[in-house]
Amino acid sequence: MSRKGGGSSGGGVAQAPLNLVNFSFLDHKAELSGQLLARGRQQARSLVENEADFWKFVGKYEAMMRSTGQPALPPLLTEPELSEAQPYHRSKHLALRLNGEAFLQDARGEMQEQFRHLLLVYLDFRQKEKFQRIRKLRQAQRNLPIARFRSDLRQALDESRVVIVAGDTGCGKSTQVPQFLYDFGYRSIACTQPRRLACVSLSKRVAHELLDDYGSQVGFQIRFERSRTQRTNILFITEGLLLRQLAMASNLDQYDALILDEIHERNLFGDFLLGVTKCLLRARPQLKLILMSATINVELFHSYFREEGARLVQVPGRLYPIKLRYMPPPALELKAGQAAAASKRSQGSNRIDPAPFVQVLSLIDQQYPTSERGDVLIFVSGVNEIDSVVEAIREYARQQEHWLVLPLHSGLALAEQDKVFDYAPEGGRKCIVSTNIAETSLTVDGVRFVVDSGKVKEMSYDAACKGQRLKEFWVSKSSAEQRKGRAGRTGPGVCFRLYTQAQFDAFEAYPAPEIYRVPLDTMLLQMVSMGLPDVRAFPFIEAPEMERIEQTILGLKQHCALSVDEKITPLGSSLANLPVELSIGKMLLMGCVFPEVEQLLTLAAMLSVQNPLTNRAHTDQRCERERQPLESDQGDLFTLVRAYREWLELKMRREGTRKWCHRLGIEEQRFYEVTKLRQQFQRILESCGMAVASGSSGSQLTSAERATRHGELRQLKALKRRQRFEQPRQRKLLKHQHGQEAEEEEEHNEEPLGEDMRDVDFRLRHDARQLALLERSARLDRSRDVVLLKLLLVSGFYPQLAIGDEFNYCKGGGQQFFHTRLKPFLSQHPNSHFAKHYELLKLADSDLLAKPDFYTPKHPLSARHQLLCYQSLLETAKPYLMNCIRLPAAQTLLLFSFAIDTNAGVTQIVCDGWLGLDFPMPGTGMQLLSRAIELRRRWSSQLYAKLDELSDKREAPSSLTSPSSTLWHDLLDFMALDVAYAIRRLLPADLKRLYSHQAASAATRLMELPANPFAPDYAMTANEEKGGLNVSEHVVYGCLVEQQWTLAMDTTLRSEPWQCTRCNFQLEEFDVLEQLVHQQQQQCRPSRAKASPSGKTDKRPPPTTTSSSSSSASTGGYFCETCKTRLRQLSQIDILRHRRQCTKAS
């Protein structure tokens, strides 16, 4: 920094006036920059915000003075002179003074004095700039169509509690109405948005307009983030979160005005909120409700709130005229050669034909000179369609180089989505190919041409098979009009419709609301947990079919979330607290019975996020190769958890993860979400006492670690602060792409320049110990962990099971079919592991076992039958099973089926009326069933004990650890049981003659027993419907009609005697019923154990662990704690019986 002008003594030169002809301040930069400094508290500070900008100004100023013939700088005036009107001096226009005392150095000599004056001129200029910035902002606000309706809104609010603001996108309602309310004096305004992103961007925009960019007057609250403080007056919040606030606490007392935005979208939460707020208005007489919608079906909302006296404020949009041209594909002339080529390529597949789109572009090229600006927005139905069209247009753009193609859909990374806002270079046009995301939710300015395919892909829900279907439909009239409107936002435009007027006329008026298209279980459960006595009476704006509501209620009952009389159960209210799908919530709660939930949390979080694998992950060979080592035979879910673990390991080593994710085709954002979600699960479970706080015990950091961590935190927070105050992304000029690959490369290199804020965030939240804990939770190496986790998955997903087609064994990969109870012939998703490795789901030849003579059916006998449990059904091109895991069939069915029916000999079991199990080996069916019943009851009683504990709020620290680990081991033993059976799918014809519909003679004998041999404290009753006896919550004994083979089996066995395994009692015939009866009798007392008379050997592998109470038969027998005897060579079931007997006796 220069202090004094070196050599030349300042004084001499100073007296002569400076003349810019032979002088420039720029030549003295080094010397003069010191003159910009003011004394600071800690260090000197420059008076200008941006010195480079200042020097640029100096250059321009000098040039201007020279060119206007005033190169000689006039002498400076003193303060008294400045207030004299005469004579004229430019500086008398300056409304600003430098504060001489504040400067670090005094200005000496003419050059420094004049320089200071120039600084003042600059600062004054900057003041004017900033002033104008504020004025322009206000002007823009005033020019919005909504601005003229401010007083109307005020009046409406004075007169009514409900106001509907209907105005098209771009009228400014979302940004202005909250500010109007603030101006009217409301101080706690909540504004809901369907999308998280909108919450963030609106809160930024409104804060900016309130000149509070850096304050917290305006905040947002979305799933993992909030920026709300006590000072926040306007809060943008997602619909889901507001509903949750409603469910948790009261009547939203914290807000004095509630704005529901975008209600025309008619999504599930939006509709739900409408109904809830309608009720809320009664409870909160002071609350004001403002509904905002596009001008779509406004009458529906108005009449819905008619009895509340809703006022309607209609805001006309700001739309330029739009020329409409119907151009159904055949009407287009085939002109462009490229287009023809493009259409040829797509023939033969059911991909869309991109030719019409290219032809419209070529039409635009012919009719509109490129000197007229204007971009193109193309609407197609889905991502695949976008890809085909983008590809074809890129081809076309090789000749017509002024075209820039940009895809736009919600699956794109945010940075990618942002690109559509960038400018096309002069003479260029950008062409955005989009899904319906650009219809209302995202507004791109500068669009002059809209090309509408008229198609939309919508998820529909098939309640009958509980599957979702992604299907292409014609859009509704209102959607088509919205699409058209996008062309007229910045000037007159043109809309090309690739369909006929007649087709348009046949479109539905409005799109179907989401409530008709998605499962209702979460919503209905929320309603009940909010205290609604009868969900059927909920004031739906448009009610779903009654039958679907009934089905959903039934489902909730089956999952024990609702009691028989439709009251919420402890399980139900816990489920309602968890912000996830019911199935995932249920597995979390079921898992809380066990000592360790860490892995389950990770798994459940992984299930709850969008698939982390990108499209590229399956199309790019390199990604496939990179992921190869992580592939798990247990299915895609387990592969993902492995990848997540690998990712965590990279984080632990402080290595970059972004490139790694890109290499494997993983959308890294999802892994961050998994981490956050997992943490959220943990917090919820801990806060309600379901899970023991982890990491609190003994995982304190050492002081050295703490010190390092402290330093790291400081650094990270500084980074975060910098990012927070960073200017929002500016629109950039788009570059021409030459080949897609090059562009991708470039992007990839461009990325690491900025600090990865997600990584900074992640590191802020996780110290080394926490990271290690996380990493451990993603380890799924031990098979026992895998088995337990799979059971937990099924506990949530049941009845989402599928069985392989019986002819799969002789077919190739493409023809593997699976059946669920409600829907036959489903496929594995082609990208899934089981589609590629379908042999994993088949029986190997070595798994097939010899059949006894009496077992005549053709079904193969094996101990290794498997079932698939799937997360969802999705129908796109074909119906697919998504996210499957595989499980031992019989064990899984017996543990989870809602209805289990048996014959008298328990050789035949039917689960939920669709899968039949045959156990032709004596005693095995009985063995499996009784163990399943016992385990099931233990599991649910432990769960309920835990839930009751919570509802009683008793301080009972979990003493359940030991029984739950026993349960765990017993479950593992059960799953590993080697029992030979056949499994088959029952067809409707089978069902007709399945049940005896009468009390079997055998059953009556059971009734006479002192206790229920299956479930001791369950009162047996006759089952009127199927026949037989209800012997446990889920089991009906003896209701199945005997088959030929079961009768034959009975006959064969009757010829053999049976010996009780516990006493010396012998039966002349092998008769299951007699055995059961015998074991209930007093004379059956345990004595020296005898070998099992059926001659079966327990081939069960040795259990992985030994616990005190359940020891294995293969190692030195079983020692019973209660009667202090060692029992040798007992099968597991015998031990079980013994235990029950013993405990009963004691």
């Binding site: 003011a38 600071g40 508290r41 800690q42 500070r45 420059s46 008076l47 200008v48 915000e49 400045l82 207030s83 004299e84 009107a85 005469q86 004579p87 004229y88 008398k92 226009h93 409304a95 600003l96 003074r97 430098l98 504060n99 504040a102 600062l123 900057r126 003041q127 900033k130 002033f131 104008q132 504020i134 004025r135 000149l211 509070d212 850096y214 917290s216 609250q221 993992f224 983030e225 909030r226 920026s227 709300r228 006590q230 606030q245 948790m248 606490a249 956050k676 943490q679 959220q680 917090r683 919820i684 806060s687 927070k717 500084a718 975060k720 602060r721 927070r724 105050f725 965030d761 939240r765």
Partner: protein
């Protein structure tokens, strides 16, 4: 619900400040009045147009303005377009003057050329028109140009 939001951003600003300036925290706690300096409370309303804003300061030497002062009382706002400096520190150009009182009729006017003119002092345009005859021709020309534009 409050509890499940991960990283509670409320306290972030405060926390960062604490890290940056350990000393500042105590004085903040002892003097809650200080908090107010950051909130705009002074009503500024232009008599010439409908500009209406809340500002932080009225006078000649805003405490948050670094190295400058005003020759007359001004309505000054902390610069909303810059990140606020840590407390007790100044930031360059962290001020925007929105307007002043007309030196002749004392009406409040904003700095827009359509509402006021500055020559040795602030004049609202009607007063400027009256005053102009006393000024040198250069100043007259400038105001006339401004008057014809607005």
């Amino acid at each position: 619900m409050e509890a499940d939001d991960d990283f509670v951003l409320d306290n972030e600003a405060a926390e960062i400040e604490r890290l940056d300036l350990p000393a500042a925290k105590e004085s903040k706690a002892s003097n809650p009045e200080e908090e107010d300096e950051r909130i705009a409370r002074i009503d500024f309303q232009c008599s010439g147009c409908d500009m209406h804003e809340l500002v932080h300061y009225f006078g000649r030497e805003p405490p948050f303005a670094l190295g400058i002062k005003y020759p007359e009382d001004n309505y000054v706002m902390r610069d909303p377009f810059q990140a606020p400096p840590p407390r007790w520190q100044a930031k360059p150009e962290f001020y925007i003057a929105l307007g002043a009182k007309c030196s002749r009729c004392s009406k409040t006017v904003c700095k827009d050329p359509g509402c006021s003119f500055y020559y040795t002092a602030t004049f609202c345009l009607p007063c400027g028109r009256e005053e102009l005859k006393n000024w040198p021709v250069e100043a007259q020309a400038r105001l006339r140009k401004q008057l014809s534009a607005s």
